[in-house]
Amino acid sequence: MIVAIVFLPLLAAIVAGLGNRMIGNVPAKVVTTGALFASCAMSWPIFIGFLTGNMHAHVEPVLAFIRSGDLNVDWALRVDTLTAVMLVVVTSVSSLVHLYSWGYMSEDDSQPRFFAYLSLFTFAMLMLVTSDSLVQMFFGWEGVGLASYLLIGFWYQKPSASAAAIKAFVVNRVGDFGFSLGIFGTFLVFGTVSIPEILAAAPGYANATIGFLGYRVDLMTLLCLLLFVGAMGKSAQLGLHTWLPDAMEGPTPVSALIHAATMVTAGVFMLCRLSPMFEVSQHALTVITYVGAATAFFAATVGTTQTDIKRVIAYSTCSQLGYMFMACGVGAYGAAMFHLFTHAFFKALLFLGAGSVIHAMHHEQDMRFYGGLRKHIPLTFWAMMAGTLAITGVGIVGVAGFAGFHSKDAIIEAAFASSSSAGGIAYAVAVFAALLTSFYSWRLIFLTFFGKPRWAGSEHIQHAVRDAHGHDDHAHDDHHAHDAHADDHGHGHGHAHPVEGDLGYHPHESPAPMLIPLVVLSIGAIFAGWFFAPWFLEAEHGGAFWAGSIAFNEHLMHAMHEVPWWVKWSATAVMITGLLVAIWAYLLDTTIPRRFTDQFSVLYDFLLHKWYFDELYHYIFVVPALWLGRFFWKKGDQGTIDRFGPNGVAALVVRAGTAARAAQSGYLYTYALVMLLGLAAAATWAMVG
């Protein structure tokens, strides 16, 4: 069964990808979507089996992979609780995104390619979550990276899209650099890349040291941190996060599936999968906590200033991933996985909702040109509301709430309960980030759905209106060009200023294939937290549920319930504060944002430019790399090696270029002569000697 779950999407991707224009749009979509729904239908029983305790961990061998001395790697599919959670997340979101794309991509002329990429991604992600060895995990890791590259660059005609695709791949490769070294080191120490064997042996190396680059360092800290660098890349943690916002160049369903729900959580999954190993190194866990906290804070601050609806959600994702890493860092792997699980549903929902808004607004993504959409696209509005209620963590302490209320608040409480200094800082940062989360999430809702229509100034809408009056058939042909939105440069783009008015353009609600996933995910965003919390989090059920697939810390989960009342209420309090500020600034007195940015323009610019990371990296990595390349080429290869090497010799032997030309044919004979003379000498020696 697990073999079918994993390989059906691959088969579908091959059929749709190679069939492409030969088999046409509809068969390609039917095959891929059908395969995904089949995989999904087979995944839920496995998950339910683990919930009820009827399933047990097992490994399904597929094929031998690499056999080199002690290094034994097999293609094998591991099924345990952790895998089961990921299986339902991946296949559910993926099948809904496939369905959604029937509507969203209906006017694209490369649909088979799109669906093939989506299914290929799903296959790679499933290989990742079912891996039993670090090497297969790396296979899935790189496979999802490839799919992400292809999907970000799906509209390859746009220079911005292909640039974003390269950036995503290369930045992830920086992470893979660490991951690779981590795997090499792990094999060096443990003599195996099998995950269960590594986890079993890890505690025995608690005090071991290893030589690394001339230093003697703590073994487990080194290995964990190297592996963590890989997780940082894939999960867009601070420092290696720069690719994620740019990845929004991809079609919105891709953002929902890959850059919100599944691939970017691979780093969290890796930490949880290897949690018994990470538990051995307290230093590594502390670093992870700080990195997670820094990311949660950084991304939340940037999220408050972005105007592109997708970028706000992208930074939100980055921030929420920071929460998950914080949870891992304080040892609350169950809480991390739970947030991963609920986040997958409500963040996919937010992205797909944003896609529905963008669809209705003729590919306008700038929220300043939205407004009052509540009445035009009510179902999308309510779905986005469900997502926002979930992410901001609305709920009543001790009773129930939306998904994020259960999972995010658990992380905040666990950070406090861990009673380490890192945990204390994590708690403070998490609460502050929750305030910002609430603010930017509601800001998005208010700018988009409330107030008066402001799209009269939008070029996309102007195009749409003009086309509607003129040549109708031209309606969507050039939306790729439109998609080359300049909003990544903040306010400096060619748009006219937002002006109130609707130009007589009336946005329409999206078609059913897009709305059904919204409804299904809304249900998840509303109930998933409340329903699944006992298994994922509670000390009583958690141990039995996780069954050793993660390092489930029952003690910490107990302590989480014992935290003071003000800790429990803190998340709710900041959630309400954020909401109130957003109401005040974006509903009651809409001049506040302008006045604020004028007053604090330095801070505003700093946040708007995402802390200037892109600019910084450009000057410290990209520019020097190109300069060095040119230097080594012109000054090294040509200026030194060639000049004093072959060219120098040539100048000595023959002064004039014409002579060299004339002698050219002679080289061959000279060469053959030298060879023959040598052989003659050899023969003589051989016969005499």
């Binding site: 090497v135 390859y156 490769r173 090499f184 060096l188 120490v189 071991a208 001339g214 290869d637 080289y667």
Partner: protein, 507 residues
């Protein structure tokens, strides 16, 4: 002595080469294609009849000629794989030249067939002098191919090629003469078991190194390669990158390591240092290239550095990884040069900036190019991953610095290959002549498909390729393991590091 299949594989292209010289253009093409396909079939026979776990040297042939010269052939698993690679790429080269070469076709085909003879000869030779003849003579057809059928600047390129290789070959010959005199035999299998005196090993090693490092090519004796590739016709580049570069790695594995294990260990940092520089420097240079062939040529230097790093790791993962990098790179770089040739045939320029947007009008081409690009950056599931992964695992076992520096290659490699792919395949299709380019023809499809299949096969089930060489790598390991340099990444299980060091000092 059984059926002389190796002699037959060497003789068929040689005879066909002679036949070509007396044929017209069209007949020469067919003679070359049939001869290379027959050799491919014989290669398959060779592979299927090779007994894994059998004697180390199989298909052995021996005929004394005169003095100590002998027609001695025989292969182990290492040679088998490289011969299979050679005979696999040859028909593809002939196919790639089918329409692109129009002048002096019979001579061209004869040169290629002669090269096939000599390549098989290099890998099958068991006699030191026979190896030398094959190894050095193999360059003659390559000179001709570059010098006659090459691009505008072919004279300079072939001259450079000549100058570099000449130096190496003279030194290697002198070393060989000394060795034969010392050991009293020209038999390579015997020499592989000979313990040369430690002080002589260093000089012998350096003499061989001069030849193999150029052939590889290692930094800083690599500058002939970009020029040779740029000037060579497509098929010439394919065979140059696919097989000729592998002769350097083969030389290290067959001669330097097993014959001079002490010197190999002593000069560990020489080889590793040059390889580390090569990975970083040539990758950075590849990043700024505007000529497609130059970019791939520089990437070849970087990839070949993984081979030397693997070989000099002194452990199984490193050695097997190095072999797999050689095989994988043989396929992938050959395929990449084919991909360049395919669009060069249409637009007659290698400048990246002249292309763009090919995904629109050449989707099949875009797919193949993507596969080979991803294989080149070492994506798991393709041939190059397994090799690079093992080579780097081996490197880490040998020294953490080497692994650390070499692994940066996976970042830089991704950067330059994706920049190339973006320039050619992505972007808007605005240039009229580019938009007019048709997608892959059936002939071109037939060239790329087998390589694509090979790349995937080697990536998913590399055991087919590791199994034949396992015992032979073991034989090399047995020679070099005693002298392996100490790793800096030793694990110490104990309370506090300096206390452990303290305790060691007392014992």
């Amino acid at each position: 002595m059984g059926f002389p299949i190796l002699t037959l594989m060497i003789a068929i292209p040689a005879l066909a080469a002679v036949a070509c010289l007396f044929a017209g253009a069209s007949a020469a093409r067919w003679i070359a294609l049939i001869a290379t396909l027959v050799d491919l079939a014989l290669g398959v026979v060779l592979w299927t009849n090779y007994e894994i776990g059998g004697p180390q040297w199989q298909f052995v042939e021996h005929a004394d000629l005169f003095g100590r010269f002998a027609w001695a052939l025989g292969i182990d698993g290492i040679a088998l794989l490289l011969i299979v690679l050679s005979v696999f790429l040859m028909p593809i080269c002939i196919g790639a030249s089918w329409e692109a070469i129009t002048k002096r076709v019979p001579e061209y085909m004869a040169a290629f067939l002669l090269m096939e003879t000599l390549m098989i000869g290099v890998f099958a030779a068991q006699d030191l002098y026979l190896f030398y003849i094959m190894f050095e003579a193999g360059l003659i057809p390559m000179y001709l191919i570059i010098g006659i059928w090459g691009g505008a600047d072919r004279i300079y390129a072939s001259y450079k090629f000549f100058l570099y290789t000449l130096l190496g070959s003279v030194l290697m010959l002198i070393a060989m003469l000394w060795m034969v005199n010392f050991a009293g035999t020209t038999s390579i299998p015997v020499l592989m078991q000979t313990d040369f005196p430690a002080d002589a090993q260093t000089w012998l090693f350096l003499a061989f190194f001069a030849s193999f490092a150029v052939k590889m090519p290692m930094w800083p004796v690599h500058t002939w390669l970009p020029d040779a590739h740029v000037q060579a016709p497509t098929a010439g580049s394919v065979i140059l990158a696919g097989v000729l570069l592998k002769m350097g790695g083969y030389g290290f594995l067959r001669f330097s390591l097993p014959m001079f294990p002490i010197a190999s260990a002593e000069l560990f940092w020489l080889v590793m240092g040059l390889s580390m520089v090569a990975v970083v420097v040539t990758s950075l240079i590849a990043l700024v290239q505007e000529d497609m062939k130059k970019l791939i040529a520089y990437s070849s230097v970087a990839h070949m550095a993984f081979v030397t790093i693997g070989l000099f790791s002194f452990n199984r993962q490193g050695l097997e990884g190095a072999m797999l990098v050689m095989l994988g790179h043989g396929l992938v770089s050959g395929a990449l040069f084919l991909c360049v040739g395919i669009i060069y045939d249409r637009l007659h320029t290698r400048e990246i900036a002249r292309y763009g947007g090919l995904a629109t009008n050449m989707p099949k081409y875009a797919l193949f190019f993507l596969l080979f690009t991803m294989a080149s950056v070492g994506l798991p599931g393709t041939s190059n991953f397994v090799g690079e992964f093992l080579a780097l695992v081996g490197a880490y076992e040998a020294n953490s610095w080497v692994a650390f520096v070499a692994t940066t290659g996976i970042i830089l490699g991704a950067a330059y290959m994706l920049v190339l792919y973006r320039g050619v395949v992505y972007g808007p299709l605005t240039k009229e002549d580019v938009a007019a380019m048709p997608d892959l023809s059936k002939r071109e499809l037939a060239l790329l498909l087998p390589i694509a299949a090979g790349v995937m096969w080697m990536g998913v089930y590399p055991e087919s390729f590791i199994a034949p060489m396992r015992a032979d790598i073991g034989a090399v390991l047995a020679r070099i393991a005693p002298t392996a340099p100490e790793s800096d990444a030793k694990v110490v299980v104990g309370p506090v590091p300096h206390a452990a060091a303290h305790a060691e000092a007392h014992h």
